[in-house]
Amino acid sequence: MSDASCRSEPQGNAQVPRDSAEPNTSPAFKWDYPPIGDYAVIGDCRTIALVSREGSVDWLCLPHFSAPSWFAALLDKDGGGRFAVRVRELRQAAHRYVADTNVLVTQMHGPGGTMQLTDSVSVISEDRALELAPEHELIRLVECTEGEVDVEVFFQPRPHYGLSVPKLRDRGKLGWQCVCNGDVAFLQTDIPLREIEPGVLYGTTRLRAGDKRQVVYGYCENDVSIIAPLGPAIEHRVEATQRWWKQWSAQCLYEGPYRAAVLRSALTLKLLTYSLSGAVIAAATTSLPEGDTGDRNWDYRYCWLRDTSLVLQSFIDLGFYAESESFLAWMLHATRLTQPRLQVMYDIYGETALTERELPHLSGYRNLGPVRIGNGAHDQLQLDIYGDSVQTAYDFVDRGGYLDRYERRLLRGFGRVVLNCWRLPDAGIWEIRGEPRHNTYSKLMCWTTLHRLLELDKRVGLKLDRDLYERELQSIREDIDRHAYDPARNTYVGYYGGTVPDASLLLMARYGFLEARDPRMVGTYRFIERELGVDGLLFRYPPGAGYDGVGGSENLFGICCFWLVDYLARLGDRDKAQRLFEQLLGYASDVGLYAEEFDLHTKAPLGNFPQAFTHVGLITAALSLEQAHEGRRGQEISK
């Protein structure tokens, strides 16, 4: 749908002549791609923004995570759109979160002074839900804390993944209006701005120590805009947002030695939770490359049931019970289109059509395209997701949660699907795009599904045919032992008939299929460590195109490294587990965030960012370590 206020034509760099005589002339803009680990994230549990250390919002989708972007410089530094507030002639910058919040503070040092930039997306709390406030509001507070700084604002909105150039209108004291189709955004600031080329605003001002400025971006979809006045009210909203996050963080029950890292992971997972439905997206971005080519560029802005279940298990473990209830509610209602069969992924409202396509007009992060939206794995058969979903329900009940009749019926339905399908080959946890195969981890999770359902039946009465379930439970175990165990090497292998390991099999101990000290489990661990380990970290499966049929190189997989910590804790090797855990903490970004993978050589974050899966791994590993320190091991450690 076109709109006269919104031209569909990607634009290049904004160029302002260098030789202008004006004292506050903007320079020619030369943007680069920061390393992925230089980004921090802020959000309102509906959408999420990636903010570079240099103060540029390079990724923001509106009105929700999976919607088209308004700023996508992350995927095309010139035409994707960005919203930068920074010091001119920046010398050095560092950022951190305000403790226990998702409010970001960036210190930028210029030639003559220091500026502090506080970034937040306002959270609508229960007590503020009745107020007239913008639907989404990104607040950027600028303060010169030392000396003098020249601050510049560069505002280049490019809706529809950079395809549209919106018309910007100066609306006087209301600020700048930016309209595209039915959506409207207002940019308000007390820094004077001018349109330096169609669809690009720029302004600069000199601040002295103590001077403050505000830059506020408000967005509204198909409705009358709410325009908040600048001044103390804006500062109050940032304080209210901080307060909300601190109150949320205060629920965290973990008090162990890694509280800061665990809480940062929990805060990140909460940012990835869509508050209106309870769905959790796998990552905030699409198409950040997992290697040095774009072959492994995928869109992770959807809700994978597996990831969501693991996130919710972490929330339950940490004491965030409201999130687990929301997820169960989401799972019940959003997956109705496919129940009792589950699709691998859904969008945040449970939509199932997530057709994958490429956006050729975006060059990709560091020109490593293609940029993909949607996800072709949505219609794969991945049998492990039933186990994850049932495990979440099991944990929920284990902590005192109540399952109503409808929920119990749904769980019975999952059981029926697994009874009927566990013998089928599937795409497995790693979403292998080639021929389906009998993945050992999928069989393990089918076993887990039936095992946990039998346990739940004892507790809440699912009315299962227990004889049938117990018979099939035994059949799965025998099937795995017969086809996936290699007695000559004393190890389980990744798939039936294969010879190679798969790091997901470290979870056999966690799910109780084997004792951690069982010789076959120890053999499997040693095989995985020997074949997949590099510098103490792990590949998820043997690197190279042979295993998954996808081109490009595979790197070290974040959650698998944390699974290794979990296994070592269960094995009772606390020192090694702790050393590895602390090594992994050292590979987090400077604000404690993880991508899906670590670079093989530099250990820098690679892939979509931040990634829920990896943060889940961190939390489960920290909790297992804590229990190991209490003297527990093997099945004494929960799950």
């Binding site: 749908m1 009745l130 004291k173 039915g182 509204c220 709410i226 325009i227």
Partner: protein
């Protein structure tokens, strides 16, 4: 039933149908991204700054105002001595023009929560002003508003034809 009571019942019935038809068009146009004009919300926020309450109150007020205006349409048709859908549509079209050219631009001066471009937003005045012809709510707003008002008038004209 006396002729007067019969007329009142007719006004209430057709006023409600016409208002709902107009509201449906405006609501659909909002959700299709054609216009951001939200009449119930604007009406509700005259009396309250709470979003939820404004939406509920606004919906009720829209029905009441729809009935109230239907009464004047009734008088208009009575003055003409006849009623039919095209006469109603013409009246609705003129009504729509008045809304666009007079009522919407005056919003910042008559609505306690609509901001003005001269004074800027304040703690109380936060709603984006609609501007001339409501163009700030999307460039299709005049067309959508005219269609909605024309349909409102046409429904009333067709309904009241049974009375006259």
């Amino acid at each position: 039933m006396t002729p007067a009571s019969f007329a009142i019942v007719e006004i209430l019935i057709w006023g409600l149908i016409a208002t709902l038809a107009m509201g449906a068009i405006l609501f659909a146009s909002q959700n299709f991204g054609w216009s951001r004009l939200d009449l119930p919300f604007l009406l509700g926020t005259v009396f309250t700054g709470e979003r939820h309450a404004a939406n509920v109150l606004g919906f009720t007020l829209t029905i009441l105002v729809g009935w109230f205006i239907a009464f004047f349409y009734y008088l208009f048709f009575a003055a003409f001595g006849e009623a039919n859908w095209w006469l109603g549509a013409a009246a609705g079209f003129v009504h729509g023009l008045l809304v666009l050219t007079a009522l919407l631009p005056l919003m910042p001066y008559i609505h306690p929560r609509v901001a003005s471009e001269y004074d800027g937003p304040s703690l109380r005045r936060r709603l984006e002003p609609p501007g001339f012809l409501g163009l700030h709510y999307g460039y299709r707003t005049p067309v959508v508003t005219l269609i909605a008002q024309t349909v409102y008038g046409a429904v009333l004209g067709a309904g009241f034809e049974l009375v006259f």
